[in-house]
Assembly symmetry: C2
């Protein structure tokens, strides 16, 4: 008998508010650049010396728009730097002065000080800017209210965050301005988010991030849309299909604008079965090695669907793409219609050669599993980039830009990249690593669940799971071990719904869909428990690494070590 594992929503911070973690110099340096666009690197260093060290309190936040949970606090200092430290003491009084909104608004830079308001309090957070895990995004709130931002990134609404904020209080907002502010502040930006299926395990509610129970995944080759993992970076934008317009820029013909109807009728409808996987799938296993920053995904931030739409290639050709463009352009950028309070939209890009290749199968999809795209999956139009990390499959697509450059968005430049296990937030240089595009070989055991109990009387144990590789590389084999990796057997692969004929073998380099797999094996006579392990191989003979620690990285992405579950053997049925 197999007991289902229940995943828990893990957005809360736990012990981090009491931890003293280190700030990332990259963040400080970024803030330094914003502070003065002409500042030299020496300016930045002196800024860091002056401001970096003085923080006394841990604080936790959600990386702007990524849903990435970050934590930081006191910057521990090397002894040799301490004599250069200028500690700023903030006087605190019980009776705070009253400030007008105008006065608050005049503090919106590192030079003039960074002030914000929250529920009528005025806070000087100048010193905190360099520590903000969302980086420079915090400056967008400078001179104004925090509420619209915190409504967007709900992780801020926690007691310890408020406690830390209180340390920076310098005054009260005038009653008159407070009243004005309250009428301006918008309602919950997530209020138009759709209903979701209750079976989903919610990793974060706002923005919505959730995965299905693993055992559901291996039930069907095509994941029903309701169960398909959801990974939103921002509120779901309500889009009117009648007025929807997709813009295509950066091509010789000027800007091409397409209505939904034109996208559906001017271009052939192309259907692709493709698996999407979040870069953070299986992040929870990295968290067991050492805390990483990000949503604590289990093994089900991956799903498989059938997508239909216009081929991006066809649209680009219609918009004037030709060989001459390939001489100057290298990337195709996408902008979503989902935006934060400042109007910044979600964005990402893919290499031009993937976008225009006949074999790339990149879609501007308007259907998922034979129906209109659901709201959570990008209605009315999303990009589907088969073989490529979920983050580039931009939803609620508003704009396509053919460019010499990658997307400048946070999610392309300073997130969704892999680093060495030896790299920490003090040493990370996001420019040193390529943006994740194709994902490496992956597999996991969907059933039995870790900690499940199997009755000896059943004699056999059946192990099921999924396997997939990025870049269109076909999974050619899955090895399964019941003894922690000492001995292996080859699983049976399935590339269709049970009982149906297998999908036709994909052309080389275009194996976009996962394979489900299954092994039934006798329970070894002496075993009291089984350490079940799986590892997959793709047709470039890439293999999964054995263990998690050597691929650990500070953002907890690319977690594709062998998947392991331990199952207990129950000898005595009468115990039931």
């Amino acid at each position: 008998m197999l007991l289902l594992r229940r995943c828990r929503s893990l957005t809360r911070f736990g012990p981090l508010s009491t931890q003293r973690l280190q700030v990332a110099p990259a963040v400080a340096s970024c803030a330094g650049r914003l502070w003065s666009s002409s500042s030299s690197s020496e300016d930045q260093r002196s800024y860091q010396r002056a401001h970096g060290p003085s923080w006394r309190h841990g604080l936790a936040g959600l990386l702007a728009g990524t849903g990435a949970v970050l934590a930081y606090g006191l910057h521990h200092h090397k002894a040799e730097q301490e004599d250069t430290v200028r500690v700023q003491a903030i006087e605190k009084t019980s009776a705070f002065p009253i400030f007008s909104q105008e006065e608050v608004t005049s503090h919106r830079s590192l030079e003039d000080g960074v002030w914000v308001t929250y529920k009528g309090g005025v806070y000087d957070i100048t010193e905190f800017v360099a520590m903000h895990p969302g980086g420079d995004k915090i400056l967008l709130a400078a001179g104004g209210a925090l509420e619209p931002f915190w409504a967007l990134y709900a992780v801020h609404n926690q007691e310890h965050v408020l406690k830390m904020l209180s340390e920076y209080k310098v005054g009260e907002l005038s009653a008159e301005d407070l009243k004005k502010q309250k009428t301006i502040q918008t309602s919950d930006p997530y209020s138009s988010d759709p209903e979701r299926h209750p079976v989903l395990h919610i990793n974060n509610l706002k923005p919505f991030n959730a995965e299905p129970p693993p055992e559901i995944l291996s039930d069907s080759f095509i994941t029903p849309s309701a169960f398909f993992f959801k990974r939103n970076h921002l509120p779901v934008p309500p889009v009117d299909p009648a007025s929807y317009q997709l813009m295509v820029e950066g091509l010789p013909g000027g800007v091409l604008t397409l209505s939904l109807e034109e996208l559906k009728t001017r271009f052939p409808k192309h259907t692709v079965t493709a698996t999407l996987q979040c870069a953070g799938n299986r992040r929870s296993e990295m968290n067991k090695v050492k805390q990483v920053k990000g949503l604590n995904w289990g093994i089900a931030a991956i799903s498989n669907a059938t997508w239909s739409g216009a081929r991006l290639r066809d649209v680009l050709l219609a918009a004037g793409y030709g060989p001459d463009v390939a001489q100057r352009a290298l990337h195709v950028q996408f902008e979503g219609l989902d935006k934060d309070v400042t109007g910044t939209t979600y964005g990402a890009s893919i290499p031009l050669n993937k976008a225009v290749s006949e074999e790339g199968d990149v879609l501007l999809a308007y259907e998922m599993n034979g129906a209109d795209l659901p709201a959570d999956h990008g209605y009315p139009v999303r990009v589907v980039v088969p073989g490529t990390v979920g983050a580039r499959n931009v939803k609620w697509l508003g704009k396509i830009i053919v460019s010499a450059d990658e997307s400048s968005s946070h999610w392309q430049q300073n997130d969704y990249k892999g680093f060495s296990p030896g790299t920490d937030w003090d040493t990370v240089d996001f420019k040193s690593a390529p943006a994740i595009q194709e994902l490496p070989i992956q597999s996991a055991i969907t059933t039995p669940a870790d900690g499940a109990v199997v009755d000896r009387s059943l004699e056999d144990v059946t192990v099921k799971g999924y396997a997939w590789s990025g870049g269109g590389r076909e999974v050619v084999r899955v090895d399964v071990s019941l003894d922690g990796g000492k001995t292996w057997q080859v699983a049976r692969l399935r590339s269709s719904e049970t009982g149906q004929a297998p999908e036709p073998s994909p052309p080389p380099g275009r194996a976009w869909a996962w394979k489900l797999w299954e092994v039934t094996a006798p329970i070894p006579p002496e075993a009291q428990e089984l350490e079940i392990v799986c590892k997959a191989v793709d047709n470039s003979y890439n293999m999964q690494p054995d263990t998690v620690a050597p691929i650990w990285n500070l953002r907890g992405v690319l977690s594709n070590a062998w998947h392991r579950v331990t199952v207990k053997i129950r000898e005595d049925e009468s115990e039931e």
Copy 2:
């Protein structure tokens, strides 16, 4: 001080002649099919029952043309099969009957018996056919002399092989026919092989297989041709450039024939820097886990060169390739001019989309490192398939065939494939695995050598190596550990000769050349020895597996686990 590791030539069999290993049913079944092309699978099973079990002696051989060392012997039987066993007893007399060549020649099938001659003796090897590790190739010698074959596959020339052969002696060849045979038998087919550089470590002399000392590899970004690893499957064919003709078949325009001059003048000359790696590189590490079949390559069956020639794409287009061809064809086959005594040439194929892609960079190369191809590397023309296993880079190219099918050659169908560590020669089904094309991420430490001694007084240790990935995936990071993988540092990558500007960054998916890397790190104060480990990451974020055993496979290919060397720290300089 670093002591060089000396690789040894490891073609000898060692203890295998006394071992009793199992025969592969795949071989037996193959022989069964040859025996009667109309035989049912039941026929084959009864053949195996009748013939398989009766072998009493181990025998070792070289897999025809692959240089793969195979061993086999008594087929241990499951108890339930034993009652079906018919043991054939061969009468042996001291005075053998005399047979004519005509009589010997009449025994050239499993139905009529398989006779061969060797140095005047006549042998009935019918029962041995199913055991031959080279598979059906042994039947090519049926009715004739073994000498021409053994000259080609020199591993047969060992005492224990002769001893085993003697068990099957049934007669003597008539003196007259023996005389005739001797005059027919050709001289050493390897006599026209070129001179080689003495620094190479020879893994097999005939056919020639050799690798440079590892520390030479990391000395130069471009491997000098003399040091470039050599992997021949057959004798080097002498080719007259004036009469050389390349044939291109399977395209609408009929057969296109090109002289060397035409190949050089009719098509633009294209230059690519590409690393080639043998599928068996680092096989010796798998041998330490459990004996595999194949040449015992160290870490240097990989090298990097600049190749120039006509693009295969251009030649195929000139020969009539068009989109219509892509509807019916999937593969491009290559035939070498190197052949065995039966006239069978080396052969391989690659997917058509790789061959015709503008980004595939597949060359019909006539230059290596700026000079004519050396004889060992395919003079006058070879295929260079960047990103693809060495075995598909066919040398001494004679024929190109565009086809719906893969090459039917032994090396495409029954070799150069990967299997689960749980698969052995009893269970292997070569049809179940794809032919290796793109290779997985790879890296190795070229210096210090395993077992080297480093003086503590040097304070630092410098570690160097190479890293490469197949399919044009660029190496983006190499992690190096001095403590067996507990902690890691990031190596400095190099993509040019020392002191020269780096090669320009390759377009996405076209990183064909390796990167050399280097780390200099302090010797840890307490360490008595260092377990140095490297692992590389490509831009699809594929990682190397941690350990060898879980990727072990019976042919010892695709050996790409973390590379490890142990170095001793010498504390007292006066010991020198």
